[in-house]
Symmetry: C2
Subunit: 244 residues, 2 copies
Protein backbone atom coordinates (compact mmCIF):
# COMPACT_ATOMS: atom_id res chain seq x y z
CA UNK A 1 0.00 0.00 0.00
CA UNK A 2 1.33 3.42 -0.89
CA UNK A 3 2.28 5.92 1.77
CA UNK A 4 -0.64 8.22 0.93
CA UNK A 5 -3.17 5.43 1.00
CA UNK A 6 -1.89 4.42 4.42
CA UNK A 7 -1.95 8.01 5.59
CA UNK A 8 -5.56 8.50 4.44
CA UNK A 9 -6.51 5.21 5.99
CA UNK A 10 -5.03 6.29 9.30
CA UNK A 11 -6.82 9.65 9.21
CA UNK A 12 -10.18 8.28 8.11
CA UNK A 13 -10.39 4.65 9.19
CA UNK A 14 -13.33 2.55 8.05
CA UNK A 15 -15.45 0.97 10.74
CA UNK A 16 -13.91 -2.38 9.87
CA UNK A 17 -10.44 -0.93 10.39
CA UNK A 18 -11.49 0.59 13.71
CA UNK A 19 -12.75 -2.76 14.93
CA UNK A 20 -9.63 -4.60 13.75
CA UNK A 21 -7.43 -2.00 15.42
CA UNK A 22 -9.35 -2.50 18.67
CA UNK A 23 -8.97 -6.27 18.42
CA UNK A 24 -5.22 -5.98 17.90
CA UNK A 25 -4.92 -3.46 20.73
CA UNK A 26 -6.67 -5.87 23.08
CA UNK A 27 -4.07 -8.51 22.22
CA UNK A 28 -0.87 -6.47 22.24
CA UNK A 29 -1.90 -3.92 24.86
CA UNK A 30 -1.42 -0.79 22.73
CA UNK A 31 -3.07 0.48 19.54
CA UNK A 32 -1.16 -0.61 16.44
CA UNK A 33 0.73 2.10 14.57
CA UNK A 34 0.77 0.37 11.21
CA UNK A 35 -2.44 -1.61 10.84
CA UNK A 36 -1.50 -3.19 7.52
CA UNK A 37 1.28 -5.17 9.22
CA UNK A 38 -1.30 -6.91 11.38
CA UNK A 39 -3.59 -7.42 8.44
CA UNK A 40 -0.76 -9.23 6.72
CA UNK A 41 0.01 -11.22 9.88
CA UNK A 42 -3.52 -12.59 9.99
CA UNK A 43 -3.68 -13.48 6.30
CA UNK A 44 -3.32 -17.23 5.91
CA UNK A 45 -1.85 -18.45 2.63
CA UNK A 46 -5.16 -20.12 1.72
CA UNK A 47 -6.64 -16.62 1.45
CA UNK A 48 -3.37 -15.15 0.19
CA UNK A 49 -3.41 -12.60 -2.57
CA UNK A 50 -1.15 -11.90 -5.51
CA UNK A 51 0.41 -8.46 -5.34
CA UNK A 52 0.56 -6.08 -8.32
CA UNK A 53 4.13 -7.21 -8.95
CA UNK A 54 3.08 -10.84 -9.03
CA UNK A 55 4.26 -11.90 -5.58
CA UNK A 56 2.20 -14.15 -3.38
CA UNK A 57 1.21 -12.25 -0.26
CA UNK A 58 0.45 -14.06 3.00
CA UNK A 59 1.61 -14.17 6.60
CA UNK A 60 4.37 -16.72 5.97
CA UNK A 61 7.24 -14.24 5.79
CA UNK A 62 6.12 -12.57 9.01
CA UNK A 63 5.81 -16.01 10.58
CA UNK A 64 9.47 -16.68 9.70
CA UNK A 65 10.47 -13.42 11.41
CA UNK A 66 8.21 -13.89 14.43
CA UNK A 67 9.37 -17.46 14.97
CA UNK A 68 12.97 -16.23 15.24
CA UNK A 69 12.02 -13.44 17.65
CA UNK A 70 9.94 -15.76 19.84
CA UNK A 71 12.76 -18.32 19.97
CA UNK A 72 15.21 -15.67 21.04
CA UNK A 73 13.02 -14.07 23.69
CA UNK A 74 12.20 -17.48 25.16
CA UNK A 75 15.90 -18.40 25.05
CA UNK A 76 16.84 -15.32 27.06
CA UNK A 77 13.94 -15.86 29.47
CA UNK A 78 14.97 -19.45 30.19
CA UNK A 79 18.68 -18.55 30.30
CA UNK A 80 18.00 -16.03 33.09
CA UNK A 81 15.31 -18.01 34.91
CA UNK A 82 17.43 -21.17 35.17
CA UNK A 83 21.00 -20.02 35.80
CA UNK A 84 22.15 -23.47 36.87
CA UNK A 85 20.63 -25.61 34.14
CA UNK A 86 22.71 -26.71 31.20
CA UNK A 87 22.00 -25.88 27.57
CA UNK A 88 20.39 -29.29 26.98
CA UNK A 89 17.66 -28.46 29.49
CA UNK A 90 17.20 -24.97 28.05
CA UNK A 91 16.96 -26.31 24.49
CA UNK A 92 14.42 -28.95 25.46
CA UNK A 93 12.16 -26.64 27.46
CA UNK A 94 12.24 -24.07 24.68
CA UNK A 95 11.32 -26.66 22.08
CA UNK A 96 8.35 -27.68 24.26
CA UNK A 97 7.23 -24.04 24.37
CA UNK A 98 7.63 -23.22 20.69
CA UNK A 99 6.22 -26.50 19.38
CA UNK A 100 3.06 -26.63 17.32
CA UNK A 101 0.71 -27.78 20.08
CA UNK A 102 1.76 -25.20 22.66
CA UNK A 103 1.70 -22.37 20.13
CA UNK A 104 -1.77 -23.33 18.94
CA UNK A 105 -3.06 -23.35 22.51
CA UNK A 106 -1.39 -20.01 23.23
CA UNK A 107 -2.88 -18.57 20.04
CA UNK A 108 -6.33 -19.70 21.12
CA UNK A 109 -5.88 -18.23 24.61
CA UNK A 110 -4.66 -14.93 23.21
CA UNK A 111 -7.65 -14.74 20.85
CA UNK A 112 -5.95 -15.17 17.49
CA UNK A 113 -8.37 -17.59 15.75
CA UNK A 114 -11.17 -15.02 15.31
CA UNK A 115 -8.81 -12.68 13.50
CA UNK A 116 -7.25 -15.05 10.99
CA UNK A 117 -8.41 -14.73 7.41
CA UNK A 118 -8.82 -18.15 5.76
CA UNK A 119 -10.32 -19.13 2.45
CA UNK A 120 -12.49 -21.89 3.81
CA UNK A 121 -12.52 -22.54 7.53
CA UNK A 122 -13.61 -26.15 7.21
CA UNK A 123 -11.17 -27.05 4.50
CA UNK A 124 -8.18 -25.55 6.22
CA UNK A 125 -9.10 -26.55 9.75
CA UNK A 126 -7.28 -29.80 9.31
CA UNK A 127 -3.99 -28.00 8.99
CA UNK A 128 -3.84 -27.39 12.67
CA UNK A 129 -0.79 -25.18 12.86
CA UNK A 130 -2.59 -22.22 11.31
CA UNK A 131 -3.23 -20.35 14.55
CA UNK A 132 0.15 -20.99 16.10
CA UNK A 133 1.73 -19.75 12.89
CA UNK A 134 -0.50 -16.66 12.93
CA UNK A 135 0.62 -15.97 16.51
CA UNK A 136 4.23 -16.04 15.31
CA UNK A 137 3.35 -13.74 12.41
CA UNK A 138 1.72 -11.30 14.84
CA UNK A 139 4.90 -11.34 16.93
CA UNK A 140 6.80 -10.43 13.75
CA UNK A 141 4.33 -7.61 13.08
CA UNK A 142 4.65 -6.28 16.65
CA UNK A 143 8.44 -6.25 16.26
CA UNK A 144 8.31 -4.26 13.02
CA UNK A 145 5.56 -2.00 14.32
CA UNK A 146 6.91 -1.16 17.76
CA UNK A 147 10.49 -2.40 18.03
CA UNK A 148 12.37 -5.00 20.00
CA UNK A 149 11.75 -3.92 23.59
CA UNK A 150 8.00 -3.58 23.17
CA UNK A 151 7.85 -6.92 21.37
CA UNK A 152 9.90 -8.64 24.06
CA UNK A 153 7.60 -7.24 26.75
CA UNK A 154 4.55 -8.33 24.75
CA UNK A 155 5.87 -11.90 24.59
CA UNK A 156 6.89 -12.06 28.25
CA UNK A 157 3.92 -10.24 29.80
CA UNK A 158 1.00 -11.01 27.50
CA UNK A 159 1.96 -14.52 26.47
CA UNK A 160 4.42 -16.16 28.84
CA UNK A 161 3.21 -14.74 32.15
CA UNK A 162 -0.49 -14.84 31.36
CA UNK A 163 -0.87 -18.08 29.47
CA UNK A 164 2.12 -20.32 29.91
CA UNK A 165 2.33 -22.76 32.79
CA UNK A 166 6.05 -23.40 32.88
CA UNK A 167 5.90 -25.87 35.76
CA UNK A 168 3.52 -28.09 33.83
CA UNK A 169 5.71 -27.86 30.74
CA UNK A 170 8.83 -28.81 32.67
CA UNK A 171 7.20 -31.58 34.66
CA UNK A 172 5.52 -33.15 31.67
CA UNK A 173 8.03 -35.94 31.65
CA UNK A 174 7.38 -37.11 28.15
CA UNK A 175 9.03 -40.45 27.69
CA UNK A 176 10.15 -40.07 24.10
CA UNK A 177 12.18 -43.25 24.12
CA UNK A 178 9.17 -45.43 24.83
CA UNK A 179 7.19 -43.53 22.20
CA UNK A 180 9.80 -44.37 19.57
CA UNK A 181 10.03 -47.99 20.71
CA UNK A 182 6.25 -48.36 20.59
CA UNK A 183 6.16 -46.91 17.09
CA UNK A 184 8.98 -49.23 15.97
CA UNK A 185 7.16 -52.31 17.21
CA UNK A 186 3.99 -51.27 15.42
CA UNK A 187 5.82 -50.50 12.19
CA UNK A 188 8.11 -53.50 12.47
CA UNK A 189 11.29 -51.46 12.47
CA UNK A 190 14.59 -52.23 14.12
CA UNK A 191 15.82 -49.61 16.58
CA UNK A 192 19.21 -49.03 18.09
CA UNK A 193 20.59 -46.39 20.45
CA UNK A 194 24.31 -46.30 19.77
CA UNK A 195 26.73 -44.45 22.07
CA UNK A 196 29.06 -42.21 20.08
CA UNK A 197 31.58 -41.34 22.74
CA UNK A 198 31.76 -40.89 26.43
CA UNK A 199 33.86 -37.85 27.10
CA UNK A 200 36.60 -39.10 29.34
CA UNK A 201 37.66 -35.82 30.87
CA UNK A 202 36.87 -35.94 34.54
CA UNK A 203 34.90 -32.68 34.72
CA UNK A 204 32.71 -32.96 31.65
CA UNK A 205 30.42 -35.90 31.99
CA UNK A 206 28.68 -35.76 28.67
CA UNK A 207 27.13 -38.57 26.72
CA UNK A 208 26.27 -38.68 23.05
CA UNK A 209 23.94 -41.15 21.43
CA UNK A 210 22.83 -41.79 17.86
CA UNK A 211 19.42 -43.28 17.22
CA UNK A 212 19.37 -45.66 14.27
CA UNK A 213 16.19 -46.94 12.67
CA UNK A 214 16.84 -49.94 10.42
CA UNK A 215 20.54 -49.02 10.63
CA UNK A 216 19.79 -45.49 9.39
CA UNK A 217 21.08 -42.71 11.68
CA UNK A 218 18.01 -40.54 12.22
CA UNK A 219 18.94 -38.32 15.15
CA UNK A 220 21.56 -37.56 17.76
CA UNK A 221 21.17 -36.78 21.45
CA UNK A 222 23.33 -35.32 24.18
CA UNK A 223 23.04 -35.38 27.94
CA UNK A 224 24.71 -35.71 31.29
CA UNK A 225 23.71 -39.36 31.46
CA UNK A 226 23.25 -42.05 28.87
CA UNK A 227 19.53 -42.09 29.65
CA UNK A 228 19.20 -38.37 29.04
CA UNK A 229 21.16 -38.56 25.80
CA UNK A 230 18.81 -41.32 24.63
CA UNK A 231 15.74 -39.27 25.57
CA UNK A 232 17.21 -36.34 23.67
CA UNK A 233 17.82 -38.44 20.55
CA UNK A 234 14.34 -39.96 20.86
CA UNK A 235 12.77 -36.49 21.20
CA UNK A 236 14.38 -35.41 17.94
CA UNK A 237 13.28 -38.64 16.24
CA UNK A 238 9.71 -37.99 17.44
CA UNK A 239 9.88 -34.58 15.79
CA UNK A 240 11.18 -36.06 12.54
CA UNK A 241 8.68 -38.93 12.54
CA UNK A 242 5.89 -36.63 13.75
CA UNK A 243 5.03 -38.85 16.72
CA UNK A 244 3.06 -36.54 19.00
CA UNK B 1 32.53 -14.02 41.01
CA UNK B 2 31.23 -11.73 43.74
CA UNK B 3 30.38 -8.12 43.06
CA UNK B 4 33.35 -6.84 45.08
CA UNK B 5 35.81 -9.14 43.37
CA UNK B 6 34.52 -7.91 40.00
CA UNK B 7 34.69 -4.32 41.17
CA UNK B 8 38.30 -4.73 42.36
CA UNK B 9 39.18 -6.51 39.15
CA UNK B 10 37.77 -3.64 37.15
CA UNK B 11 39.65 -1.04 39.17
CA UNK B 12 42.97 -2.90 39.22
CA UNK B 13 43.05 -5.21 36.22
CA UNK B 14 45.90 -7.68 35.87
CA UNK B 15 48.02 -7.42 32.74
CA UNK B 16 46.36 -10.59 31.46
CA UNK B 17 42.94 -8.99 31.95
CA UNK B 18 44.07 -5.84 30.17
CA UNK B 19 45.24 -7.84 27.18
CA UNK B 20 42.04 -9.92 27.06
CA UNK B 21 39.96 -6.76 27.31
CA UNK B 22 41.89 -5.30 24.36
CA UNK B 23 41.39 -8.47 22.32
CA UNK B 24 37.65 -8.42 22.95
CA UNK B 25 37.46 -4.70 22.17
CA UNK B 26 39.16 -5.31 18.84
CA UNK B 27 36.45 -7.85 17.99
CA UNK B 28 33.33 -6.10 19.23
CA UNK B 29 34.46 -2.51 18.61
CA UNK B 30 34.08 -1.24 22.20
CA UNK B 31 35.72 -2.20 25.49
CA UNK B 32 33.73 -4.84 27.36
CA UNK B 33 31.91 -3.72 30.50
CA UNK B 34 31.79 -7.11 32.18
CA UNK B 35 34.93 -9.01 31.27
CA UNK B 36 33.90 -12.23 33.00
CA UNK B 37 31.08 -12.72 30.49
CA UNK B 38 33.63 -12.92 27.67
CA UNK B 39 35.86 -15.15 29.73
CA UNK B 40 32.96 -17.54 30.05
CA UNK B 41 32.16 -17.22 26.34
CA UNK B 42 35.65 -18.39 25.40
CA UNK B 43 35.74 -21.29 27.85
CA UNK B 44 35.23 -24.53 25.93
CA UNK B 45 33.70 -27.42 27.86
CA UNK B 46 36.94 -29.42 27.57
CA UNK B 47 38.53 -26.81 29.84
CA UNK B 48 35.29 -26.29 31.78
CA UNK B 49 35.38 -25.87 35.53
CA UNK B 50 33.12 -26.97 38.32
CA UNK B 51 31.68 -24.04 40.24
CA UNK B 52 31.55 -23.89 44.04
CA UNK B 53 27.95 -25.02 43.94
CA UNK B 54 28.88 -28.05 41.84
CA UNK B 55 27.70 -26.82 38.44
CA UNK B 56 29.71 -27.39 35.33
CA UNK B 57 30.81 -24.05 33.92
CA UNK B 58 31.56 -23.59 30.20
CA UNK B 59 30.43 -21.50 27.25
CA UNK B 60 27.58 -23.83 26.27
CA UNK B 61 24.79 -21.85 27.93
CA UNK B 62 26.00 -18.62 26.31
CA UNK B 63 26.21 -20.48 23.00
CA UNK B 64 22.52 -21.41 23.36
CA UNK B 65 21.64 -17.75 23.92
CA UNK B 66 23.93 -16.41 21.19
CA UNK B 67 22.65 -18.92 18.65
CA UNK B 68 19.10 -17.65 19.19
CA UNK B 69 20.18 -14.00 18.91
CA UNK B 70 22.18 -14.62 15.75
CA UNK B 71 19.30 -16.52 14.14
CA UNK B 72 16.95 -13.67 14.89
CA UNK B 73 19.21 -10.88 13.68
CA UNK B 74 19.94 -12.78 10.46
CA UNK B 75 16.20 -13.47 10.05
CA UNK B 76 15.40 -9.76 10.28
CA UNK B 77 18.30 -8.86 7.99
CA UNK B 78 17.17 -11.28 5.28
CA UNK B 79 13.49 -10.37 5.77
CA UNK B 80 14.27 -6.72 5.02
CA UNK B 81 16.93 -7.33 2.36
CA UNK B 82 14.69 -9.64 0.30
CA UNK B 83 11.16 -8.22 0.51
CA UNK B 84 9.93 -10.32 -2.39
CA UNK B 85 11.34 -13.72 -1.49
CA UNK B 86 9.20 -16.28 0.26
CA UNK B 87 9.89 -17.79 3.66
CA UNK B 88 11.37 -20.93 2.09
CA UNK B 89 14.15 -18.87 0.54
CA UNK B 90 14.73 -16.92 3.76
CA UNK B 91 14.88 -20.12 5.81
CA UNK B 92 17.33 -21.76 3.45
CA UNK B 93 19.69 -18.78 3.18
CA UNK B 94 19.67 -18.37 6.95
CA UNK B 95 20.48 -22.03 7.47
CA UNK B 96 23.42 -21.65 5.10
CA UNK B 97 24.66 -18.69 7.15
CA UNK B 98 24.26 -20.20 10.62
CA UNK B 99 25.54 -23.65 9.70
CA UNK B 100 28.66 -25.10 11.24
CA UNK B 101 31.01 -24.46 8.31
CA UNK B 102 30.09 -20.83 7.77
CA UNK B 103 30.20 -20.06 11.50
CA UNK B 104 33.63 -21.65 11.84
CA UNK B 105 34.95 -19.58 8.95
CA UNK B 106 33.40 -16.42 10.38
CA UNK B 107 34.90 -17.20 13.78
CA UNK B 108 38.34 -17.58 12.19
CA UNK B 109 37.96 -14.31 10.27
CA UNK B 110 36.84 -12.46 13.37
CA UNK B 111 39.80 -13.79 15.35
CA UNK B 112 38.05 -16.09 17.83
CA UNK B 113 40.38 -19.15 17.75
CA UNK B 114 43.25 -17.44 19.61
CA UNK B 115 40.95 -16.57 22.48
CA UNK B 116 39.28 -19.90 23.11
CA UNK B 117 40.42 -21.81 26.15
CA UNK B 118 40.68 -25.54 25.45
CA UNK B 119 42.10 -28.38 27.49
CA UNK B 120 44.21 -29.85 24.73
CA UNK B 121 44.24 -28.17 21.34
CA UNK B 122 45.22 -31.29 19.45
CA UNK B 123 42.74 -33.55 21.13
CA UNK B 124 39.81 -31.23 20.67
CA UNK B 125 40.74 -29.95 17.24
CA UNK B 126 38.81 -32.76 15.66
CA UNK B 127 35.56 -31.41 17.06
CA UNK B 128 35.48 -28.71 14.47
CA UNK B 129 32.51 -26.71 15.66
CA UNK B 130 34.40 -25.31 18.64
CA UNK B 131 35.14 -21.90 17.15
CA UNK B 132 31.76 -21.39 15.54
CA UNK B 133 30.19 -22.24 18.88
CA UNK B 134 32.51 -19.80 20.65
CA UNK B 135 31.46 -17.09 18.20
CA UNK B 136 27.84 -17.75 19.15
CA UNK B 137 28.77 -17.64 22.85
CA UNK B 138 30.50 -14.29 22.33
CA UNK B 139 27.34 -12.98 20.65
CA UNK B 140 25.44 -14.07 23.78
CA UNK B 141 28.00 -12.28 25.95
CA UNK B 142 27.76 -9.08 23.88
CA UNK B 143 23.97 -9.17 24.26
CA UNK B 144 24.13 -9.51 28.04
CA UNK B 145 26.97 -6.99 28.32
CA UNK B 146 25.69 -4.23 26.06
CA UNK B 147 22.07 -4.94 25.14
CA UNK B 148 20.13 -5.80 22.04
CA UNK B 149 20.82 -2.82 19.79
CA UNK B 150 24.58 -2.93 20.28
CA UNK B 151 24.61 -6.69 19.73
CA UNK B 152 22.52 -6.39 16.57
CA UNK B 153 24.89 -3.77 15.22
CA UNK B 154 27.88 -5.92 16.15
CA UNK B 155 26.45 -8.83 14.17
CA UNK B 156 25.46 -6.75 11.15
CA UNK B 157 28.51 -4.47 10.94
CA UNK B 158 31.37 -6.56 12.31
CA UNK B 159 30.29 -9.97 11.07
CA UNK B 160 27.79 -9.80 8.20
CA UNK B 161 29.10 -6.72 6.38
CA UNK B 162 32.78 -7.41 6.91
CA UNK B 163 33.03 -11.14 6.50
CA UNK B 164 29.96 -12.59 4.83
CA UNK B 165 29.71 -12.84 1.06
CA UNK B 166 25.96 -13.18 0.67
CA UNK B 167 26.05 -13.48 -3.11
CA UNK B 168 28.33 -16.49 -2.91
CA UNK B 169 26.12 -18.05 -0.26
CA UNK B 170 23.00 -17.56 -2.34
CA UNK B 171 24.54 -18.68 -5.60
CA UNK B 172 26.08 -21.79 -4.13
CA UNK B 173 23.46 -23.93 -5.77
CA UNK B 174 23.91 -27.01 -3.70
CA UNK B 175 22.09 -29.87 -5.32
CA UNK B 176 20.90 -31.64 -2.22
CA UNK B 177 18.74 -34.10 -4.09
CA UNK B 178 21.66 -35.58 -5.99
CA UNK B 179 23.67 -35.70 -2.76
CA UNK B 180 20.97 -37.81 -1.12
CA UNK B 181 20.61 -40.04 -4.18
CA UNK B 182 24.37 -40.60 -4.35
CA UNK B 183 24.45 -41.49 -0.67
CA UNK B 184 21.52 -43.90 -1.11
CA UNK B 185 23.22 -45.72 -3.95
CA UNK B 186 26.41 -46.09 -1.93
CA UNK B 187 24.54 -47.29 1.15
CA UNK B 188 22.15 -49.43 -0.82
CA UNK B 189 19.05 -47.64 0.42
CA UNK B 190 15.75 -47.17 -1.32
CA UNK B 191 14.69 -43.54 -1.74
CA UNK B 192 11.33 -42.02 -2.58
CA UNK B 193 10.13 -38.45 -2.91
CA UNK B 194 6.39 -38.61 -2.29
CA UNK B 195 4.12 -35.66 -2.99
CA UNK B 196 1.85 -34.95 -0.04
CA UNK B 197 -0.59 -32.58 -1.65
CA UNK B 198 -0.67 -30.01 -4.32
CA UNK B 199 -2.62 -27.11 -3.01
CA UNK B 200 -5.37 -26.64 -5.48
CA UNK B 201 -6.27 -23.06 -4.69
CA UNK B 202 -5.49 -20.94 -7.68
CA UNK B 203 -3.39 -18.34 -5.91
CA UNK B 204 -1.23 -20.53 -3.71
CA UNK B 205 0.93 -22.73 -5.83
CA UNK B 206 2.63 -24.67 -3.11
CA UNK B 207 4.06 -28.16 -3.25
CA UNK B 208 4.82 -30.45 -0.36
CA UNK B 209 7.01 -33.50 -0.56
CA UNK B 210 8.03 -36.18 1.92
CA UNK B 211 11.37 -37.89 1.51
CA UNK B 212 11.26 -41.56 2.49
CA UNK B 213 14.35 -43.68 2.97
CA UNK B 214 13.54 -47.39 3.04
CA UNK B 215 9.89 -46.38 3.46
CA UNK B 216 10.76 -44.29 6.53
CA UNK B 217 9.64 -40.65 6.34
CA UNK B 218 12.80 -38.72 7.15
CA UNK B 219 12.02 -35.16 6.11
CA UNK B 220 9.48 -32.88 4.48
CA UNK B 221 9.97 -30.10 1.98
CA UNK B 222 7.94 -27.20 0.67
CA UNK B 223 8.29 -25.03 -2.38
CA UNK B 224 6.66 -23.25 -5.27
CA UNK B 225 7.52 -26.12 -7.59
CA UNK B 226 7.83 -29.84 -7.10
CA UNK B 227 11.54 -29.59 -7.80
CA UNK B 228 12.02 -26.95 -5.11
CA UNK B 229 10.00 -28.94 -2.59
CA UNK B 230 12.21 -31.96 -3.29
CA UNK B 231 15.37 -29.90 -2.86
CA UNK B 232 13.99 -28.59 0.40
CA UNK B 233 13.24 -32.10 1.68
CA UNK B 234 16.66 -33.30 0.50
CA UNK B 235 18.38 -30.38 2.26
CA UNK B 236 16.74 -31.38 5.55
CA UNK B 237 17.68 -35.01 4.99
CA UNK B 238 21.30 -33.93 4.38
CA UNK B 239 21.25 -32.18 7.74
CA UNK B 240 19.80 -35.23 9.50
CA UNK B 241 22.19 -37.65 7.77
CA UNK B 242 25.10 -35.20 8.13
CA UNK B 243 25.92 -35.28 4.40
CA UNK B 244 28.03 -32.15 3.98
Amino acid sequence: MSFWKQFRRKLFPSSKDRQFSKDIASIIGRPPKNLSLYELATLHSSAGKISKKGFRVSNERLEFLGDAILSMVIAEYLFKKYPHQNEGFLTEIRSRIVNRDTLNKLAANVGIPDLVELQDKNQTKRKNSIYGNALEAIIGAVYLDRGYLFCRKFILVKIVNQHLNLDTIINTDSNYKSKVIEWAQKENREIEFRSINETDTSNANEFEVTLLIDQLPVSEGKGTSKKRAEQDAALKACQILKLH
